[in-house]
């Protein structure tokens, strides 16, 4: 049968490999955010004395860890072709529930937010997967609903529960090698996420659904079940991030997370994940998260910008980053 082989362009008898340029292009496309991140870090270190200090680096990394945890879930959601706008609300809801739950001990403090946020994620997943409703709208309703729930249990936001359980507080505040535990949790989750995404059937299903949902269904992917899991996971991770943050802040702050979903989406998309689904990964997302943190930090380093100018600069930065990333990818593809 081999004599009927269809010879691909590079057909030299052996299995042809992709040209090197193509691989570099793929690398750049996947790691464009990482490149831009490196450039920014180098520029920042040269320009500002106090930028590349351990303290500053730690503050960027620590504060990014919560965004990172949420972004892991969002990456799955976006690769599957969906979107989750509820994460900001689930983040604050998770924090308030954790603080509230901490009066009953460590387990409740951790499990209560996971249970409630997971349930919200689950319901969203069911509505999206089983009832076929648009993720944007379902999770927009989730955004409203979860924030409403948070306000309801916090007396319209007036009551801030304090974290009573010392062990739980330590989960957010304890540190190892200068970095707090949530950083390690985020790293562990990201690694687990990478394995899940790249090396398990579930991950393959996520890509397949995002790449072509109809084809995925015909190829035997359990589309609905996978989607439910994805949104459940996103809800759980947002709740977990909220709980860890509450532990760090020792209280269930009620004014958090407004507009957070956009930051998370920006991080994921800057990281090279296509919003149309089917492509992307967690390495990029992590780079995207750090990139946002570094941009903020650089703006702080300048220190003389008015608040309005700070916004202009971060908007311009965002635009530049996506343009750079886009052009990098394109240039490589053309050559």
């Amino acid at each position: 049968m081999t004599d009927t082989a269809m010879i691909a362009s590079a057909g030299d008898g052996n299995a042809p490999v992709s040209p090197r340029s193509e691989r570099i292009s793929r690398l750049l496309q996947h790691h464009g955010a990482l490149m831009v991140l490196l450039v920014l870090v180098v520029v920042g270190s040269v320009a500002f004395d106090s930028f590349a200090t351990p303290g500053n680096a730690a503050s960027i990394i620590v504060s990014s860890s919560f965004l990172a945890i949420i972004a892991i879930g969002m990456t799955f959601v976006i690769i599957s072709g969906g979107i989750d706008l509820s994460v900001g609300s689930l983040y604050v809801l998770g924090g308030v529930l954790a603080a509230y739950g901490s009066q009953y001990g460590f387990a409740v403090a951790l499990l209560l937010p996971l249970a409630v946020c997971g349930a919200v994620g689950l319901v969203q997943g069911l509505l999206i997967a089983r009832a076929g409703m648009a993720p944007f709208i379902v999770t927009l309703a989730g955004l409203l609903g979860a924030r409403g729930l948070m306000l309801a249990i916090s007396d319209e936001g007036a009551t801030t529960y304090l974290v009573e359980d010392a062990a739980f507080a330590a989960l957010g505040q304890g540190s190892f090698l200068g970095l707090t535990y949530p950083v390690y949790i985020a790293i562990a989750l990201a690694l687990a996420g990478m394995v899940l995404l790249q090396r398990t059937g579930f991950g393959q299903n996520v890509y397949a659904i995002g790449g072509n949902e109809q084809a995925a269904a015909l190829m035997g992917v359990p589309v609905a079940r996978t989607k439910v899991w994805i949104y459940l996971m996103s809800g759980l991770l947002a709740g977990l991030a909220g709980a860890l943050n509450a532990a760090r802040l020792s209280s269930g702050v009620t004014i958090l997370g407004i507009g957070l979903e956009l930051d998370v989406i920006a991080a994921v998309v800057i990281g090279g994940t296509l919003l149309t689904g089917g492509a992307g990964g967690l390495t990029g997302t992590m780079a995207g998260v750090l990139l946002l943190g570094v941009i903020q930090s650089l703006i702080n380093q300048v220190g003389t910008l008015t608040s309005a100018f700070q916004q202009v600069v971060s908007g311009a930065f965002l635009a530049l980053v996506v343009i750079a990333q886009r052009l990098l990818g394109r240039a490589q593809r053309l050559s």
């Binding site: 944007f136 309703a141 609903g145 409403g148 936001g157 919003l275 608040s307 309005a308």
Partner: protein, 320 residues
Amino acid sequence: MAEATAASPRVDRARLRGWLQEYGVYAAVAALLLFNVLFTPHFVDAANVRTQLVQVAPIVIVSLGMALVIGTQGIDLSVGSVMALAAAVVVLYLGYGAVPAILMALLAGALVGAAGGSLVAYVGVQPIVATLALLVGMRGLANVLVPQLEEFRNPDLIALGSGSLAGVPFVVVAAVLLTALVAFLVRRTTFGRQLVAIGGNRAASELSGLPVKRVLLTVYVISGVLAAIAGVLATARLQASDPTSLGLFIELSAITAVVVGGTPLSGGRVRVLGTVMGALLMQLLSATLIKHNLPQSWTQMVQAGIILAAVYATRERGTR
């Protein structure tokens, strides 16, 4: 296959379902109106009707632009910031008179739209990030231009906000005219047809010789201009330019209005009247909740529920 189209009960059910999909949002608006007429005191007063229409007008105008953008499979998060920018620009140039000031504001909206449109059409940035950058940056720019709320006393601009034509507020007149204009654009012009085709299948549109990039750019410019108009009208109504909070989170309301109105986020379709109805539904909903003095927590949860219910009823069902 003509003989196969003969009616049968099953088809009727399918047709009913199709009807619900098409007109579900109208039914929802009607239901909410009925509820208010029955349970909300003073709801049918002319003054109240006027208030609701005046308040919904800017959202309608923004949503029209959003519907066009969504029709091309895009999304425009920058609309709220464009409103703020328009508010800032209009007071900056108010010294030259209301008309030049308004024109400058619209120009600003067009420029922001062009920036977003170029990023999307020519650079190939995904719409959501391109317009997210503008959302952040343009609100900042508006604040740089007008650092804090600025009141104005220009009688023309104030009249635009509070005057009326034959009893109908100018703001409402503007919304109606713009709705008609956009409906015409979508239904009767080459541009409108090309826009939905591009949203339906961009590669095919390109191969069919459609000016894809130009159409995309234009769509974002239109969305920018419409948002600027909404910003000017809202400013005129407030009698002050408030770049800090004007239009905050309006992109979410607009997107909700568009989707509740039956335009799918996957593009390839634009429903103009549905969008207006979607905006009206959201307005009536928030008015109802305010009038019945529900606490914020309840307001948000009820809104979430109603959005879900409305979209559930009008969702496109699969083949089974």
